[in-house]
Amino acid sequence: MSNGLLEIFDPKAPPKPIGIDLGTTNSLVAYVKNDKPVTIRDCDQIALVPSVVHYGNGKGVVVGRHAQTLAAEHPRETIVSVKRFVGRGADDPETRRLGPYEFAERRDGEPNVVKFRVRDRVLTPVEVSADILRALKRQAEDELRSVGGAVITVPAYFDDAQRQATKDAGRLAGLDVLRLLNEPTAAALAYGLDKKVNGKFAVYDLGGGTFDITILVLDDGVFQVKSTGGDSALGGDDMDRALAEEIFRLGGRDSKDASPSEVRVVLDLARKVKHGLTEAGIVDVELPFAGARNASFTRARFDQLIEPLLARTGVACRRALRDAQVKPDDLDGVILVGGATRVPAVRTYVEKTFGKKPLADIDPDEVVALGAAIQANILAGQSTDEVLLLDVIPLSLGIEVGGGVVDRILPRNTTTPAGARATYTTQEDNQTGFEIHVVQGERELAADCRSLAKFTLKGIPPMAAGLARLEVTFRVDADGLLSVHAREERTGLEQTIEVKPSYGLDDDTVEQMLLDAIDHGEEDLAKRKLAEARIEAHRVVTSTKKSLAADPDLLEPGEREKIEAALSALEEAAKLEDARRITLRIDDLDAATKDFAGRRMNRAIAKAIEGQKVESVEETVEHAKGVEEAHAWRS
């Protein structure tokens, strides 16, 4: 036990939900203990786990501080800041910056995913991230024994491919991912619930490798994001890199000629100098080159080096304010998140940009994980807090149309969940297929945006141009993940895709990785699937019974019998050892309850609107009473 006292373990206690901040530089895991979110510390009482993974000979994987110490000696076998590579293509400039890695060539027909070559293995960022998540899960299990579902945070500015990759990593690590949560929203949740505040806030989140700015309104437990902006390739790492270049310069060296391990050593030294300059005005170090001499770094020089980086955050801040139609004066506070906000120049810059002193009373390294833990607790039904998080899409989603132009279907800062439809017609006579290219970004041309998916709706009967009508539906869920549905209106020909990203891994690949990751292969996977299916069956049975009890009057004649038959079939299947059969019965129950579920939602809508109307009538009455009283007082 971490506090050194003997705690009595309750074997019947439900699994504890956890919140994970999967950061560029450091990761953390937290949970809610006696109504308070706390981070989980390791045996040395340290909560921060460096997001560093070392791959040894054979199957050995080392994560965290120990891996960090191996980085200098094994620069190519030790992956640092893997988050920078998540959901990116092999040809992405971001993956080609100063760093010691070797990349695997992409073979024809393979998805465009960057891959590290480590010894005799080829690893995707999803697998490396999964190794970090596994280590965090183990750390949580040491303290909690039984770990429940997990909320994993992502930068608000992450696009669909990066989100999907993060979720895949969670699955690969054997986590039940309840939700992906935006980091700034998580931070606001930790602040909002702690301080019971209402008002308009900006969250300035400068992490190791990503920058996010989010403007949100807190109102009685509703956290409504108004706008978000940022740069998913800007962070403390860039400060290290700027300092590293300076170190090479002072040593009379060119960083381009440096060996991988020199690069690693210099980057690590740069980070130490940065940390030193947070407290001190000047830091002396020994340069790590042959014939070494000492060098001094002043804070003034450091501030000068990072000025261009801060200016880039300022551009994003102003745009987010504009999108939210909020002026700096309207803000009730600015919340600082991310280790890089400890840098004094960052705090000064934020104060100047927003005209007020930023808030940092919750540790900026921990606040995101704490918020994630709160949300995990709420989603698992273990909290009484009435909280609602209304997030937005960070980047516009659209479809490529004639001339390579993007037709924007969902603009950035649309509240999630979101849905929208657009209709297109054929350009040529007898066109039998529609190619649909889904992109994300703000630029006019599809080629300048992020390509998310391409698919073709085939089998349209030959018709004159303009006669076939294709209806494309976009749907974004609460995780910010997109699915696309296409339908030809005349023939009713339909196709749905879970956006299989051009830059991602498809389900089969993830499944194969899951198999590979488990030592005993098939047998263990089968067991795990059975256990998961049973849990899901139990959940579905319980909640269906609850719904039947709650709204029996919404059932149509014969419907109850149909649902109850599906229920008992599922309960029977859950007693057997066949995961597939359970899943099929779940699907059957699902189909049987579909219409009933729709009616329940309509009732929920009617109730909410009715409640609003009653309230507004009451307000009018209140107001009239107030007027009367005012009159009475006057006379």
Partner: protein, 171 residues
């Protein structure tokens, strides 16, 4: 989908947006997928669908142009720039002059002037919204109100340009 119906409000142009925002929030409270984390997938799907529809309805109703488009459609009047009548030459002349002034101010980096032009255009947009609102309220033939929608589109584009110039100057 009729956005007015979905948010339980009357079909009119001049809506009480503050009250409607509250309705949207209450609907979100009732329907957000997070509230159905423990439910069956049919309910989760139904909730996701409805929550997305409610969000879209609110997105339409709070935006004057989209709200007007929705009203026209409900009156069986086709909207979209290729379906609407061309604006009058007089209106086009006026906008062109304003545009030239904006280009000039931008070239001279006269931000005060840029801001002023933006303000003037916002005021015009407000006035047009008022006309549209009165027209719909009085039951005027919607077809005859259609040019007002075209004007709003022009104003919006102009204001976006002003914003872009200001943003460019600030960065």
């Amino acid at each position: 989908m009729n956005p007015f119906q979905l948010l339980g409000t009357e079909q009119r142009f001049d809506l009480d947006l503050a009250a409607l925002e509250k309705t949207h929030r209450e609907l979100s409270r009732a329907l957000h997928p997070d509230k159905f984390a423990a439910s069956t997938s049919s309910e989760r799907r139904a909730a996701l669908e409805k929550a997305a529809a409610v969000n879209e309805a609110w997105r339409v109703l709070r935006d004057p142009i989209k709200r007007a488009e929705a009203l026209f459609r409900l009156h069986d009047v086709a909207v979209g720039e290729d379906k609407e009548p061309k604006p009058s030459p007089m209106f086009l002349m006026e906008v062109m002059e304003q545009r030239e002034e904006l280009a000039e101010a931008r070239a001279k980096k006269d931000l005060a002037k840029v801001g002023k032009l933006g303000e003037a255009m916002r005021a015009k947009a407000k006035a047009t919204e008022m006309k549209l609102s009165n027209g719909f309220a009085a039951g005027t033939d919607p077809e005859s109100l259609l040019p007002l929608l075209g004007e709003l589109r022009f104003y919006k584009r102009f204001i976006e340009e002003v914003d872009a110039i200001e943003e460019e100057a600030a960065s």
